[in-house]
């Protein structure tokens, strides 16, 4: 885009910050930016893995009565596709942005607890690998990500499959809870002077809401899988229905009390990202900032009162059905407000069609479709025909792929230059966007039809007489178009890293603090902590924009705008000072530490110990590995606590 001025700098300044390099420096890093990059790279790899699982599903369903994969493999494929996408790819991709962007947006030098941040990354890495080790033993989880009891108890799920589920997800859940506590505290405590809550960038706001949801929802899930683990490993009786009288609905209530907020955990951050991209490329402030914040809070809050709309077919009775139908419909109101306010942001603007903008616009369109089919499910009697069919598969993919993934890709194009100092290629980006749009609609739109025509989900095959064939073939073709688009994206991500156009500090002319510092940012982020006077600090000095910046007070407007100790006009130039290390500048940064990775290893080992009970058939190996894990955990916590901070 010729319209978005690129600051001509010889090359990104990454090498100039006197940062340590090499593998060891990454293993011991506590820098939120490096951890963010590690989150992003790892999660993108999981995205590709889960995508390949999806392609195998689509190949299997290309013709009726197909035997491309066995029934057992198919059941593992759809289970692992969901688990890997949700816990391996989408949540961690949002976490990558939380990590990298949020401290920059609030004007902080790092997150509140840098070593804890490293711990949550290493737990995520080990937990993800652990969950997938099941494939090696031909024992990947196979009862669906929802894992309805009693299909998951020893009697109906012998073998290791569901052990990998309960134990792997414990590790991943721990990682999410730790990371979210860190973000909450960072956002509450580390905001730059002058950044009141209602001056926070909208993405930071949505991160805060999401983090609160993760801490609370993951706690419920932790209880559920701990109980299931006790049933499986120690023979307790939470979900064991065989002669033991347990009620399988207990699992469903616990699971969806986590599972529905989880849906919002996956979409609220994206709403924040899109709310950053749209104003930047429309050259206007976000329409109705206050309402956007409060509708986000409301979505998160209402998200706690709708879980049983996943359970209309369980026969809860008319009163409960009515309550959950109405509460679900209510959520459409704040969601609709967001969509209309995004349109209001575009209205009267000067729209630049960068790839980031295209993906954000695509997000609005696809998410609207997913939202509408969501309202259709909320009508409980109607949902009795839709639930557990491909109609719901269509709905969740419009929300998660059309919504979450497209929004994440928008954020990738938008913030990649901040992270790596170079722009992603726009030509490849546009090919990526249009192929994704075509592919996703070909893949997921026919699922609405085939679902209403009677195709249940989670079925490894269908009969030719059922009439589903032609629609499934269109879907499979579409899925390979998505694969092609993703391949182009992967090439773009890789080539731009070394060869992309140099971005400069603020290639998009955006308004928030992260764009006030060089790209990639120096290790200490801000040479001097900025003082914030408004919601859009970088648009503040611009006379054409100042009028539109709310909450700027008269007396503050007369003050000098300070960013990194320099007047606004000078910010963005690469000063010699930027080549100086944090130490030279007298900035204290937390020292690197290898205890987070050791602690993560110890914690993971405890859970690995639990799973090996059946591999060896002898209980002593359980104690062996677990005691080793406990020993490492205790030792590393002790060493961590007494590690010098300077």
């Amino acid at each position: 885009m010729s319209s978005t001025a690129t600051v001509a700098a010889p090359r990104p300044v990454a090498a100039h910050h006197a940062e340590p390099t090499g593998l060891w420096s990454w293993i011991t890093t506590v820098d939120h930016k490096r951890i963010g990059i590690m989150y992003g790279v790892t999660a993108f790899v999981w995205f590709l893995v889960a995508g390949i699982e999806a392609l195998m599903i689509r190949v299997q369903l290309f013709v009726p009565n197909n035997h491309f994969v066995s029934a057992e493999t198919y059941n593992s494929l759809f289970t692992m596709h969901a688990l890997t996408m949700i816990f391996g790819a989408l949540m961690p991709l949002t976490a990558a942005f939380f990590n990298f962007i949020v401290p920059l947006q609030v004007g902080a030098r790092d997150v509140a607890f840098p070593r804890l941040n490293a711990l949550s990354y290493w737990l995520f890495l080990f937990g993800g690998i652990f969950l997938n080790v099941g494939w090696v033993f031909k024992a990947a989880p196979d009862a669906g990500w929802f894992a309805y009891a009693p299909l998951t108890i020893e009697a109906w799920a012998p073998g290791l499959h569901m052990d990998f589920y309960v134990l792997g997800l414990q590790v991943l859940g721990l990682s999410s809870i730790i990371a979210s506590l860190n973000f909450i505290i960072t956002i509450i405590n580390l905001r730059a002077p002058g950044m009141r809550l209602m001056r926070m960038p909208i993405f930071t706001w949505m991160t805060l809401i999401t983090s609160v949801l993760i801490v609370t929802a993951m706690a419920v899930f932790t209880i559920a899988i701990t109980e299931l683990m006790f049933d499986r490993v120690f023979g307790t009786n939470f979900f064991n229905t065989v002669d033991a009288g347990a009620d399988p609905l207990l699992w469903q209530h616990l699971f969806w009390m986590f599972g529905h907020p989880e849906v919002y955990i996956l979409i609220i951050p994206i709403m924040g990202m899109v709310s950053e991209v749209l104003p930047t490329f429309s050259r206007k402030p976000l329409f109705g900032y206050n309402v956007m914040v409060f509708s986000g809070v409301l979505i998160g809050w209402l998200g706690w009162g709708v879980w049983s709309h996943h359970m209309f077919a369980t026969g809860m009775g008319p009163i409960a059905d009515s309550f959950f139908a109405l509460s679900t419909m209510l959520i459409a109101i704040p969601t609709g407000i967001k969509i209309f306010n995004w349109l209001g942001t575009i209205y009267g603007g000067s729209v630049r069609f960068t790839t980031a903008m295209l993906f954000s616009v695509g997000f609005i369109a696809m998410f609207t479709i997913g939202g509408i089919s969501g309202v259709m499910h909320s009508s409980a009697p109607s949902d009795l025909q839709q639930t557990d069919t491909y109609f719901v598969v269509a709905h969740i993919h419009y929300v998660f792929f059309g919504g979450t993934v497209m929004g994440l890709w928008s954020a990738m194009y938008y913030w990649y230059p901040k992270v790596f100092g170079r722009l992603l290629d726009e030509k490849m980006g546009k090919a990526h966007f249009w192929l994704t749009m075509v592919g996703m609609n070909l893949t997921f739109f026919p699922m609405h039809f085939v679902g209403m025509f009677g195709m249940p989900r989670r079925t490894w095959t269908y009969g030719p007489e059922q009439g589903f064939t032609i629609w499934n073939q269109v879907e499979t073709i579409g899925s390979f178009i998505i694969a092609l688009a993703t391949l182009i994206f992967a090439v773009n991500l890789f080539t731009a890293w070394k060869r992309g156009r140099v971005a400069g500090p603020n290639p998009w002319g955006a308004a928030t603090l992260e764009w006030s510092i060089p790209s990639p940012p120096p290790v200490y982020n801000f040479r001097e902590i900025p003082v914030v006077h408004s919601r859009m600090p970088l648009w503040e000095g611009d006379p054409t924009k100042a009028a539109g910046i709310p909450h700027g007070r008269a007396e503050e407007e007369t003050e000098q705008v300070t960013l990194g100790g320099a007047a606004l006009a000078e910010v963005g130039d690469v000063h010699d000072e930027n080549k100086m290390s944090a130490h030279d500048l007298g900035i204290h940064l937390p020292p690197p530490s290898f205890w987070p990775i050791v602690l993560a290893f110890g914690i993971t080992l405890i859970f690995v110990g639990l799973i090996f009970r059946q591999l060896t058939g002898a209980m002593h190996s359980l104690w062996y590995l677990m005691i080793a894990g406990v020993a490492i955990t205790v030792l590393s916590i002790y060493a961590w606590a007494f590690e010098p901070g300077h």
Binding site: S3, A71, Y148, P150, L151, W156, T241, D247, P248, R283, K284, G288, A313, G317, P318, S322, L326, M329, I337, F340, N341, L343, I346, Y347, G348, G349, S350, V351, R352, V361, A365, T368, I372, S373, V375, M376, S378, S379, A380, P381, D383, Q385, Q386, D388, F449, M452, F453, G454, M455, R458, W460, T461, Y462, G463, E465, Q466, F468, A547, I549, P550
Partner: protein
């Protein structure tokens, strides 16, 4: 509002495929035998009506949002040399408006929804036909309790009369399943240690497809069924003949006699029930009137000699995870067994 007619048109166009499907009638049913768009009960018509209502409103809102978005993107695209846009940061009146309008639209869906929630879960009338449905991995058992205390047991093909309310008692002694015959109405789960209810009144005779709707393990995809709706007289005839013990082979028919010997004295007896013979196994489906069923292996194959041979050769190959093992039968044995099983009319 000059744009209104154009918008209405696009609504109609977008909704057309589904509306056509809904109105397609018998032809649509022939193409998609398990479709939700061929409601034959009040229950199914209610769910279908709510679907159409929410579809039309949803498509109208969706098309409006997308049209406005595309128009704004085109109208407010960047033009070289244009001044920076006016910096608007919100409009309270507009924002209140687009809070209230969706609320009204939702109310239009909410009121009939709540009504339908109650109307589709009524108390069964006293003359309702009660059928116990028991989900198995991966087939269905249907039990008809009789006034005399007997129970007629059949599998994978549920027979009901038209013009009389059917009250299903849904149970499972293993994992969860869901009973779903779309033409009769929505699905309902079969939950271990609970009894669920599904109530509908068939109006139209015919054979309808159904399938398990809740993931239940390896061969969940192959847990299908047929629902046969008879006239009231036809149903009585079916019930009477179903209550009779299994047909005895003619003494002259040696193949059937040999088959009976193989079935009733072989491994089959451990799991299957054939009334009128010593076979009383309760693990697998009842075979008392097996020869009359339209399908075998829970709705996945037409019930004919060729398919039955394939099944008997190696059941787990056709239904992965099936509890019926490969019995390593010879072709000759299979021929006799098929002859006997097909004679069980």
């Amino acid at each position: 509002m000059r744009a209104a007619p154009a918008r209405l048109w696009s609504v109609a166009l977008a909704a057309a495929p589904l509306l056509l499907a809904a109105c397609g009638g018998k032809e649509h049913l022939r193409q998609y035998p398990q479709t939700t768009f061929y409601p034959t009960t009040q229950f199914a018509r209610t769910t279908d009506g709510l679907f159409m209502l929410s579809l039309i409103l949803g498509v109208a809102v969706g098309v409006a949002v997308l049209a406005i978005m595309v128009y704004f993107l085109w109208r407010y695209r960047y033009r070289p040399g244009a001044p920076e846009p006016k910096q608007i940061h919100g409009n309270t009146r507009l924002e209140v408006a687009w809070t209230l309008i969706p609320a009204v639209i939702l109310a239009v869906i909410a009121v009939p929804t709540v009504k339908a929630i109650f109307s589709t879960q009524p108390e069964p009338p006293a003359d309702a036909l009660t059928v116990e449905v028991i989900g198995k991995q991966w087939w269905w058992e249907f039990r008809y309790p009789q006034p005399n205390g007997d129970t007629i047991i059949t599998a994978n093909e549920i027979h009901v009369p038209t013009g009389r309310t059917v009250h299903l008692l849904l149970k499972s002694d293993n994992v969860l399943h869901a009973f779903w015959v779309p033409a009769m109405g929505g699905k309902r789960d079969l939950i271990t240690n609970r009894i669920n209810h599904l109530i509908f009144k068939p109006e139209q005779t015919g054979v309808y497809f159904g399938q398990c709707g809740e993931f239940c393990g390896t061969s969940h995809a192959l847990m299908r069924m047929r629902l046969v709706a008879h006239t009231p007289q036809g149903f009585q005839q079916w019930l009477t003949s179903e209550a009779a013990p299994a047909a005895e082979p003619l003494p002259t028919d040696s193949a059937v006699l040999l088959g009976k010997q193989l079935v009733t004295q072989g491994a089959c007896a451990g799991c299957h029930l054939i009334e009128g013979t010593p076979m009383a196994g309760r693990t697998g489906p009842s075979l008392t009137h097996f020869g009359r069923r339209r399908t075998l292996a829970a709705g996945i194959l037409d019930n004919n000699a060729e398919n039955l041979r394939r099944w008997l050769r190696n059941p787990p190959e056709m239904k992965p995870g099936s509890k019926m093992p490969n019995l390593n039968l010879t072709e000759q044995q299979i021929t006799y067994m098929v002859a006997y099983l097909q004679s069980l009319q």
